[in-house]
Subunit: 259 residues, 3 copies
């Protein structure tokens, strides 16, 4: 038994999901196939990386994660298997791997498997399912292709820490309209220590001066800041959509300053 | 093998679904995880209760149902396990349980499990998955926390039966635009018996004088009334959206009168 | 272990999906239930048929496919089991089977199973789940009802091949806005052979004169034509939605002409 997760922008109304699941079950009937999402914003690597960073550690080591976004291969962006933290990640090396992992992945393999068709093919079904089942069946990963020295680097937006202030940004809005920033708890603690601070964004009236432990710490409708399990500073509005009501969309600047 | 179902407003494009599924499979790899829906209207307990009432009896006894809506706990609304009809229901006691069950649930346990984190946590992953796997592994439910005398009561909108008439309301629109009312077949039979009746709503021209057995009983485009398997009176328009075309939205009054 | 797939227009936010999955697991706990889609355009048989044609061959023979669209039965459109290519298909004989298969299906059975309820029933839960589990349990399909001589015929839109030209049409837009046409590679090769050609649609400026192997063959934003694994000519725009930007919606004429 092996777990194979699917995270993609394939959408939910076409035949793509069915094709990939069928191909997996045909090659490895014991697969436990787990839908994560198929409604990633099309071609949006930052969205994909945020989701994968935040869910994969919940799964047991040995889990196999298929990444279905911008998955057409080219010479510069070959199909690639990354092994890290005991997990397997299969996708095109389009920069996604550099956005998921902060450090260099432990093992990188350029996938070189024979395809069954001369046609335009759908890599999710024709390559990734095959690679996932190869791993699930316990065959050596070295058979999948040669080692690759590095993954393609995309530079994620990082906060600037300048003296007594952190200048970060919103990187993700979830379904509830909560705004995840790129400011981490480690940075926050280093700068703020035990001193008084203010988190501000967009206008001086948007000002939060405490870190909550729970949404329940503030009355309905009020803004709050807390650290998500991923360690990111999250700005939210209880029972409302901070992304819409406060304008907290990706790339909006969020500042932490000492008072 | 145990079945664990997921009914939530977590949405389909974030990492939340993946986090919960991963946490379940890490603790109990044999779980059969079943997605019911993740697109409940956010914070809408009536929607959640309607869905759960109507699907859970299809599952075999022993099934475990995770309810992911308004799931942050407070002292008044603790995380709670309800056992009823041989099924297990895990959620926050925010009123949802009183909306699902007409009678008092057979067993109620206030969940008191140690969380692994000091952070803001995601109860679906950090509490509900743990409780579900505890049950799935056959461990005693008494270990999960103390008995709770009652669940929080929300008063659902109930029809008024006055002499020869029933005054009810639409409680739910499904995906096809069908309108489920809170009028049950039992009430209907008691008032109407074998006599002539008219079901009306919004305007006197909206008038149905027969109960159908099937959508096929009327021509395309025509209105009909029938009893759903849940026993609720359903008003629909064949091949159309009654919710939109007839304005049959939740809270609209629906009346049954004798002629 | 048997695979049971679900392809439907049931939507994702009601109790319908849960009811069907519960009914399957109650009757056959070992089922591997696979969600294909539940967001088929309501009542749209062409959409349903396109999806099913394109995913089912990825699954291993013996797979059971539940088709949840226009599934209320009538005397003219009875619930029907079709066995073809080693796969089982369960639905109402509303024309869908004639749109999925180019030839007459190998075996057709009119379903005649006793329902447990006198109510308006939901065929997905009350009939199709029962039939699927009957097959999964290895019971004879002849017990499900009498043979049926033919399936209801719907005429799909077919291209016209006239001398040196093919006049076809868009039949499907996927989630990315790619446009699948009803022109097949076989027709194309017969007419074009090795000669020069132009694919045109809507206006003379929309003109493609090569078949690509991959989206990567053209620069971002440019139009291309390629053959999908299903053999259909696909017109797309790299990193854009051809359906929106070029107006390539279903029924738009697409012509292949020799130069």
């Amino acid at each position: 038994m092996a777990i194979i997760t699917l995270t993609s922008d394939w959408g939910t109304r076409d035949h793509y999901i069915g094709s990939v699941k069928g191909a997996i079950l045909r090659q490895y009937p014991e697969a436990v196939i787990v839908d994560i999402t198929h409604t990633l914003a099309p071609f949006n690597l930052n969205h994909a990386a945020f989701v994968i960073r935040n869910f994969y550690k919940s799964f047991p080591p040995g889990s196999i994660h298929i990444i279905g976004i911008n998955e057409e291969a080219s010479i510069e962006m070959p199909h690639t298997l990354v092994i890290h933290d005991g997990h397997y990640f299969i996708g095109a090396d389009n920069g996604i791997f550099s956005l998921i992992f902060d450090e260099k992945p432990e093992q990188i393999i350029e996938i070189d498997v024979i395809q069954d068709s001369n046609y335009f093919t759908f890599p999710g079904r024709d390559v990734f399912a095959k690679v996932a089942c190869h791993i699930a069946l316990g065959k050596p990963v070295s058979e999948l292709g040669p080692p690759k020295p590095a993954v393609l680097q995309k530079i994620p937006l990082r906060p600037v820490v300048a003296g007594d202030a952190i200048r970060g940004a919103v990187i993700y809005n979830d379904h509830y309209g909560n705004a995840y920033t790129n400011i981490t708890e480690a940075m926050f603690n280093e700068v703020v220590q035990k001193r008084k601070f203010a988190i501000t964004f967009l206008s001086r009236t948007n000002r939060i001066t405490a870190i909550s432990k729970s949404f329940m710490d503030v009355p309905p409708g009020e803004m709050l800041a807390l650290f998500a399990t991923s360690g990111h500073l999250l700005i939210a509005q209880r029972n409302s959509k901070a992304s819409e009501l406060l304008g907290l969309r990706p790339d909006v600047t969020v500042t932490v300053e000492l008072e």
